[in-house]
Amino acid sequence: MDLLSIKNLEIEFPSRRGTVVAVNDVNLTVQPGEVLGVVGESGAGKSTIGNAVIGLLEPPGRMSGGEVYLKGEQINNLSSEEKRKIRGRRIGMIFQDPLTSLDPLQTVEQQLVETIELHLKLGEAKAKERAIDLLHQVGIPNPELRVKHYPHQFSGGMRQRVVIALALCAEPEVIIADEPTTALDVSIQAQILELMRKLCQEKQVGMLIITHDMGVIADITDRVAVMYRGNLVEEGTTQKILGNPDHPYTKSLISAVPRPDIRLKRFPMVDYIEKEEDRKKLLDISTHWLGQARDFDAVEGPLVEVEDLVMTFVTKPAFLKKNRQTFNAVNGVSFEIRQGEVFGLVGESGSGKSTVARMISGLYKPAKGAVKFGGTNLTEIKSEKELDYFRRQMQMIFQDPFSSLNGRMRVMDIVAEPIRFHKLTSSNAETEGIVMDLLEHVGLGRQAAVRFPHEFSGGQRQRISIARALATRPRFLICDEPTSALDVSIQAQILNLLKDLQEELGLTMLFISHDLPVIRQMCDRVGVMKMGELVEVTETEKLFTAPEAPYSQELLSLMPKLDNLSQQGLQVEGA
């Protein structure tokens, strides 16, 4: 008997403007002890399937056809109370968006203990013990202390691990993991994958894992299903899919996987197009709006300099200052980014990468140290007007696409906002034209403009975020894991666009990522962070060939190798 089986699943989102069929006639099965990988285009309907299985489709979404069986028992037509009993206990779910999946007002401990007590019927003390143990298992350092913290005190990757711990805590029979490792560094990722694998093997748990990371697919899955536009286009053993795909879409996907071993000038891309009108226009930056009118002052020396940055968080507020517990998330970080350079920042999850990015963009005020832009110390500028000039040159793509978009604005207004604000166009019609164009270039299509953020998949939202960042025609772009939620082919497309911008216009970037192959392809120099400190800053190639710091060496050794990847149709440009 199949552990989990999905038959002819069909899901649609009806709306006034027509019905979006998100999933169309999909059949999947998971056996006990088996790991099924689901890959596919961003927006293909992968998360929707996961939601449907546990019966938490968001309205107006509804299952318009098909059945779901758990151990032969049909579960999609159960009463809501019976469904609830299955959730968490028998089917564990890890949602795609770790940053918003946790209740902001309760400590991690409260949320863990509550779930453990409910499902395992343990006493409070036991449950607490188990909570700490779980955190330990998912690689949260210092779990005894951390367990008392609130979600906002965790980094993106750490929250993701808490979510995993929550999903695993009742030892369910089936685990549905929606991009569980996107925000994790390779070592933690390896640890988590190991944990999951062990669960599957020892407890005969079945797992459905949705991911864009071919490394993860190669590492953990037994079988792989490939989705495209709501349809299941191909299914087979991992070996088969990665090594010898049949469907042209799968082929195009595999070809776009960034190579960890050598640096290519551009990301290889094989466009898979069903319909001719979907073909993306090639973009000529020299004539395109994005490339025009850059009136920035020339800068001598490095564009961005970061000097001895320190960021202190209060982790336990207290009545008196001396009883307060504080913690330096970033501790004495200095580096510089030259003009036209892409500076990579890698490192342990929770090591302070996002915090550095936020300090540079002015969102956090450093406790100590200085951020200089073109020689000007930004931390000292007081007047808004003056800062404006620099802000226009600087943009940021946030790590979490779910919360960085205002849910009450339409995509059109979100992307147009920076253009309108900086008065980069002369008419509204022009602005709207540019926004449409940008949306197309990030692969969303024009019809996205009138929708609201919550109507999009994770990857699609990330693309909105990217379009918004590009809309100001920035000189310096801070990218906090810009593409981790994207499928590799879209990723390639966007990274190529960034590369073009960099080459033609000298766009400077701070590029934070856990994806080492991407780092290798994108960055000129890399800084490696661990526990709030910069342990190594070096040329990218040097890092990959001869890492110096022990931590760097460890990181690289854990990088998935993807040896057996199909290399069909892949032409190596430059190198």
């Binding site: 206990r89 902001p104 409910l118 906002h152 999903a167 507020p317």
Partner: protein, 323 residues
């Protein structure tokens, strides 16, 4: 935190002084106190003398200065009308008002929150639509009308409940309480319902509005995905996330219940501070008004301070901003 409290305390003095200042500039618009202090036979000259003696002819800054100086020494003067120390009067009235405000706040919260949650969950249900509509009938009828209608129904027609006053009270130290006698408790019912009706509707609607938003968030979905029972999802996770506006409004409403439950107190002849205050206004009893307003300012500062502290207690994200 200590410095937070200290700062607030300091600010509260400024607030109270400002209130006194505004109050003094206001009093001459309320009417002439003399007419309420003497009979109609009293001669004009005597009236003038009295004005002079009371310092009513002094420039208002002088009057204000005198008030602040005396107040600083704990002396708020004598009520013009009752000729007893104002502070005594206020403290005598305080228990009645506080008990009433407390009971109605409890009623409002006790019913308002669950009903708000219910109507949010069953947004389209018939019952919740009915509740939403009925709650409005309660607020759109003026308090004096609902009060009288309640009296008519329960006091006059059914004769179940007393129509006025506090019933028998028991003195515990300097506090008088109606909680310990049957007639005291019975007397509480109608006025507290009258007062609570409005608060209840407001809280219920606020909770509903906020719940609707929160119920769509990812963490609620994840809580459901973990299999948590509905009660935990709705009350522990969702509800808690709606609390900031609810706390704000509850705080403000509690403040105004304590300070200005004027109409309810008059309709039920509830011997509380609101009634005293409205009487003081109509009698132009300046010392009572002045002391009372300053006291109320203090109340509000304290209540709002508690509200702000509750924000921190409820929402850890705000704690980092503290200071």
């Amino acid at each position: 935190m200590v410095s937070f409290l200290f700062k607030r305390l300091l600010q509260s003095f400024v607030v109270m002084i400002t209130v006194a200042l505004i109050a003094f500039s206001m009093f001459r618009f309320v009417g002439d106190p003399i007419n309420n202090m003497v009979g109609q036979d009293t001669t004009q000259q005597e009236r003038e003398e009295l004005r002079e003696k009371l310092g009513l002819n002094d420039p208002f800054l002088v009057q204000f200065g005198r008030f602040t100086l005396n107040a600083a020494q704990g002396d708020f003067g004598l009520s013009y009308k009752y000729r007893v120390p104002v502070s005594e009067m206020i403290f005598e009235r305080m228990p009645a008002t506080l008990e009433l405000a407390f009971v109605s706040a409890i009623i409002a919260l006790f019913f308002g929150i669950p009903l708000g949650v219910y109507t949010a969950l069953k947004r389209k249900g018939i019952l919740s639509k009915f509740i939403m509509t009925m709650s409005l009938v309660g607020v759109s009828l003026p308090t004096f009308l609902t009060g009288i209608l309640l009296i008519l129904l329960f006091g006059v027609m059914l004769r179940w409940l007393p129509t006025f006053g506090r019933g028998d009270v028991i003195e515990i130290g300097s506090w008088t309480t109606g909680f310990l006698t049957v007639s005291g408790l019975k007397s509480l019912i109608l006025p507290s319902i009258t007062l609570a009706l409005f608060q209840l509707t407001l809280i219920m609607r606020l909770v509903r509005a906020e719940m609707l938003e929160v119920l769509r968030t990812d963490f609620v979905k994840f809580a459901k995905a973990r299999g948590l029972p509905d009660r935990a999802v709705h009350f522990k996770h969702a509800l808690k996330n709606t609390l900031v506006p609810v706390i704000t409004i509850t705080g403000l409403q509690l403040g105004s219940l304590i300070a200005f439950a004027i109409i309810t107190e008059s309709v039920f002849q509830w011997p509380g501070m609101g009634l005293m205050f409205i009487q003081a206004i109509s009698d132009v009893d300046i010392p009572v008004m002045a002391a009372y307003l300053v006291l109320i300012a203090f109340f509000f500062v304290v209540i709002n301070m508690i509200v702000d502290l509750l924000y921190y207690a409820v929402d850890p994200r705000l704690r980092a901003d503290n200071e």
